[in-house]
């Protein structure tokens, strides 16, 4: 099953039209992501990194090029891809359980399995005990965990994260980074995360894609080979410097 879920992005070009003038957002993006990888995409704002995620998840199909998942082109959203947005986008009128369960509404699964999956997903993100809470009663970090649970409950082959920790304070951020690692290691899901925090990218990823803006292109792809995930270690700092240098380039 492993190689089957490879994500292949081939020569993807995306252009918005603003006032009849074409505005290139993504130019000739090619990237392959292999099962089990944790790929971070970093880049200045306006480099089209979020747009790329929207194309992968299937919210936007006006582009040239190909996006293949396991060999077949993605065609609209599907259960094989889950996304977490920067704003949690939970529905305020639903409880945590109902929000997570809504992700299974469209899937043909027996009711007991749905219940079990929802319970598992909530436990996985560490929110057991808050099942009946509404989003307004959750802290920012908890709401983002809930959004991750909603994405994971469908057991996607690829989890897409669009700056999921961008709106959190540093303490919550560090905590959630570790939670993300735990989830990734436990589920062995492929993760593609957009971020503008280089340290976060180095800490979490197996590969870092550096993008440059106007139009959005891939500048470099840097493999992360660290001895340990230690933010103070020399190899960690060196790698961080290298990514920053590429960004500034």
């Amino acid at each position: 099953m492993a190689a089957f879920n490879e994500l292949a992005i081939r020569h993807v070009t995306k252009t918005y039209t603003v006032d009849d003038t074409p505005l290139p957002v993504l130019q000739d993006i090619s990237l392959s992501v292999f099962p089990g990888e944790f790929v971070s995409i970093v880049g200045a704002s306006g480099c089209g990194k979020s747009t790329l995620l929207r194309l992968i998840v299937g919210l936007d199909d006006h582009f040239r090029g190909e996006i293949l998942l396991g060999g077949s082109p993605v065609n609209g959203p599907g259960a094989d891809r889950g996304i977490v947005f920067q704003d949690h986008r939970l529905f305020p009128w639903l409880t945590l359980t109902e929000n997570v369960a809504l992700a299974l509404d469209a899937l043909p699964l027996p009711a007991e399995e749905k219940t079990q999956r929802v319970r598992d997903a909530i436990a996985l993100v560490g929110l057991t005990g808050f099942e009946r809470a509404r989003p307004a009663q959750l802290s920012g970090g908890m709401a983002q965990r809930a959004a991750i649970a909603r994405a994971l409950v469908r057991r996607p082959a690829i989890l897409l994260l669009d700056e999921p920790l961008g709106a959190l304070d540093s303490l919550n951020r560090t905590r959630l980074q570790d939670a993300l690692l735990d989830i990734w290691e436990a589920q062995r899901t492929t993760v593609i995360m957009v971020t503008h925090d280089v340290e976060e990218a180095v800490y979490l990823s197996t590969r870092i894609v550096v993008m440059e803006p106007r139009p959005g292109r891939i500048r470099s792809v840097i493999p992360v080979e660290l001895i340990a995930r230690d933010r103070a270690a020399p190899d960690f700092v060196a790698l961080k410097q290298r990514v920053l240098a590429d960004l500034r380039h």
Binding site: L59, R89, W93
Partner: protein
């Protein structure tokens, strides 16, 4: 003539908000009523316009014309409920179809927004020509005054559901039906509730307006206009007071209901 109506409405407020120890809002109306009673008794004000406050309190019970007020209140309420029920139901149906379907919006939106510009009272001559000078015209008029706010708020509420919510329902591959039921309607609920709230108020104004303008049959509006014709100021004041009190209670009730609905929609309950 508007002071007694405040005085009649306010005691309700003090009963409902138990925590207010000293209802300061009562000072002004009480002073006004006392001043009025005193000036009538002292003979400062004379003539048919000078009505004794006691006379007002007794008229709904011991005066033949005054006792009619109870029937009038009942008739008005019944008419109000019938009218707004029709108006709200049709408004919800129409607003939902315009809010959910761009085709319906394109087809019916122009007409709807053009008709919405017509002052409600301007409908009366047309309605009486179509439905006659009786109950049907009044009901249609009340329904109309409830229809517009509900239809408008339902449409805009559904149209203004944030794109971010719609994207979530797409990402979760919800069917159109699931999206409407689980996402769009709950998200539009606050706007719809406000529309209904406005409809309850404008429906009450419509009820009295229709009774007053069409002027036959029972009802508070008719009661007031008859009192005026017979120069019975006590009847007029009783009518206005009943009008204010009933309208106030209806508004109060729907505030309670809508704040419940709003709290539920924002997940604060």
């Amino acid at each position: 003539m508007s002071h007694p109506q405040i005085a009649a409405a306010l005691p309700q407020a003090t009963i409902r908000t138990k925590r207010v120890a000293w209802p300061r809002g009562l000072i002004l109306p009480v002073v006004l009523v006392l001043g009025w009673t005193w000036s009538v008794h002292a003979g400062w004000v004379t003539g048919p316009l000078a009505v004794h406050a006691e006379q007002l309190l007794l008229a709904p019970f011991d005066d033949a014309a005054g006792r009619e007020i109870w029937h009038a209140i009942g008739a008005s309420l019944l008419r109000y409920i019938t009218g707004i029920s029709i108006g709200i139901a049709v408004g919800l149906a129409f607003g939902t179809s315009m809010g959910l379907s761009a085709t319906t919006e394109r087809a019916g939106g122009g007409t709807f927004h053009a008709l919405r510009q017509i002052t409600l009272f301007a409908w009366i001559p047309l309605l009486t020509a179509w439905f006659g000078n009786g109950e049907a015209s009044k009901i249609v008029y009340i329904a109309l005054s409830a229809f517009f706010p509900v239809a408008l708020n339902t449409t805009t509420g559904l149209r203004n559901v944030p794109i971010t919510y719609r994207e979530v329902s797409r990402v979760l591959s919800l069917s159109r039906r699931q999206e409407i039921r689980r996402v769009l309607i709950p998200a539009a609920l606050p706007a719809i509730t406000i529309g209904i709230e406005i409809a309850l108020i404008s429906g009450w104004i419509g009820t009295v307006g229709a009774e007053y303008a069409i002027g036959n049959g029972r009802g508070i509006g008719t009661f007031v206009s008859e009192g005026r014709e017979q120069f019975r100021m006590d009847i007029v004041i009783i009518g206005v007071t009943a009008l204010a009190a009933t309208g106030y209670l209806a508004t109060r009730l729907c505030r309670r209901l809508s704040s419940l609905a709003l709290a539920r929609a924002s997940g604060l309950t």
